[in-house]
């Protein structure tokens, strides 16, 4: 029997066991110094590897290279696989920054509390250790979030999702994404160090989920065929390979409750 799709859940809906698995996966990754570890993978985004795609880089064509969404989907796929190498059933939860009190007020609590079960909470930050960059980058990540009311609203999201043109949609969603990075500020606030903040991944899972919601309405829309064979380095995907998240083995849901087989009525 085929394995069921991995379900990425909302941060606000995780139960205690799911939170523990999530934290455990990051804790273990942070302890690995090679290319399976937190620093190596987080460093693919900005410092020191600079693979990420932002701001539609293309100096020569009005048809921009809109790789922001596909590249980050490939990145998150590889990240989640690395998480599951450590904790097999864990999935990457998404941070819905449109939620307002009483459900959530700014940074979700699981990323903010200093301790969890008497141990330091790995979701609060990561100590970057890149002494050979110029200048050296050696510090523990920190945040300086803005007022929660300044985060994007559901109305902002609805406006982006209503855009049926691919270029129009991806530009609108990237702008919302840019807003959240600046809102968190600190290391999340600049491209070079954003990937090292543990909240980065859940922010991008939200962005990826919104693309998937848009795809549910529009399919792949009028995405340029010129884009489909663009390689999403350093990952072994082209754009066409990441268009379906189900083909990548996952889906998004608000919550999940697994029904135990044992104990059922005969």
């Amino acid at each position: 029997m085929a394995n069921p799709l991995r379900i990425r859940l909302g941060v606000h809906n995780l139960d205690d066991a799911q939170i523990a698995s999530f934290r455990n996966s990051y804790q273990q990754m942070m302890g690995i110094g090679d290319n399976r570890g937190y620093q190596y993978l987080a460093g693919l985004h900005g410092v020191p590897s600079w693979y990420c795609w932002h701001h539609q880089q293309n100096a020569h064509s009005a048809q921009q290279l809109q790789l922001f969404l596909p590249w980050h989907r490939a990145y998150l796929y590889n990240w989640e696989m690395a998480m599951r190498d450590r904790v097999p059933d864990v999935t990457l939860p998404w941070w819905d920054w449109t939620l307002r009190p009483p459900r959530q007020n700014g940074i979700p609590q699981i990323f903010g509390v200093a301790e969890f079960n008497g141990q330091p909470n790995p979701l609060t930050g990561f100590r970057i250790n890149l002494p050979n960059t110029r200048p050296p980058l050696v510090h523990r990540t920190a945040r300086e979030p803005g007022p929660p009311g300044e985060l994007p609203t559901q109305s902002d999201v609805d406006d982006a999702l209503a855009r049926t043109d691919w270029n129009d949609f991806t530009e609108a969603l990237e702008d919302i994404h840019d807003n959240v990075h600046g809102w968190v500020s600190g290391d999340m606030g600049v491209v070079g160090t954003a990937g090292f903040d543990p909240i980065f991944w859940s922010h991008h899972a939200m962005i990826d989920r919104l693309w998937w919601l848009w795809q549910a309405r529009n399919g792949n829309g009028n995405i340029s065929t010129d884009l489909l064979d663009e390689v999403l380095a350093p990952f072994n995907f082209r754009v066409r390979d990441v268009l379906s998240i189900n083909d990548l083995g996952y889906d998004y849901a608000a919550a999940q409750s697994v029904v135990p087989i044992a104990g059922g009525a005969s």
């Binding site: 293309n58 920190a142 500020s185 606030g189 491209v191």
Partner: protein, 209 residues
């Protein structure tokens, strides 16, 4: 930072109106000592955690531009302000757009009455963390058979839908000024956090039903 010579000039061709408290300043070099509050063992000159901007960034105001196309005699469903060639190698910031309010600054409330039309957001590179030349964009001199990806700091494009504010102003005005007020959300020792908004050109684009 290296590579500044290729970046767009501040404010493009139209005049730039700095606020009294926002004079351009050169980027500051990395601190020769570890940042205050740094952990033991932090190397000298290590880069600190990015912070929110504390100085007023330079404000851009255009000359009056014709907006007759947005007047009551014209049918359109949406107007965008498109901005091209935006430099994003420095800090992250919000660019607040005010129409016909050249006095707008960082303290101006974002209301229709003040001409506020919307914001765009730049997720900045955070300065150059590399050796000399690392952040130098040189796409114009690319070889024909150079198939490597574009430089990450190839300038950005942003567009902001400004329909409602523009429509209201166009009822009684034939022209409007465009003012962009940057609010720096994340910057570090490598970034110029005053001369933030640099771009090549901007235009209004309207769409018919």
């Amino acid at each position: 930072m290296a590579g500044r010579k290729k970046q767009p000039k501040s404010g493009g061709a139209p005049k730039t109106t700095p606020t009294a408290s926002a004079q351009p300043a050169a980027p500051q070099p990395p601190s020769p000592t570890p940042p205050s509050g740094a952990e033991p063992g932090t190397p000298a000159g290590a880069l600190g955690v990015p912070k929110r901007g504390t100085r007023a960034a330079k404000i851009y105001t255009s000359k009056p531009v014709p907006i007759d196309f947005a007047g009551p005699d014209h049918r359109y469903v949406r107007s965008d302000l498109e901005i091209y060639g935006i430099y994003h190698g420095g800090p992250s910031y919000e660019g607040r757009i005010f129409l016909n309010n050249p006095k707008a600054d960082q303290t101006t409330a974002r209301t229709r009455e003040n001409g506020y039309a919307g914001s765009f957001y730049i997720f900045g590179h955070g300065g150059c963390l590399g050796d000399p030349g690392h952040c130098e964009v040189n796409e114009e001199n690319r070889e024909e058979y150079d198939f490597r990806p574009p430089h990450p700091l190839t300038p950005a494009k942003k567009k902001v839908t400004v329909t409602d504010t523009l429509r209201e102003i166009a009822r009684t005005n034939k022209t409007a000024t465009i003012t962009v007020v940057p609010i720096v959300t994340a910057t570090n020792e490598l970034c110029d956090d005053v001369d933030v908004f640099r771009f090549e050109k901007m235009r209004f684009v309207s769409y018919n039903p």
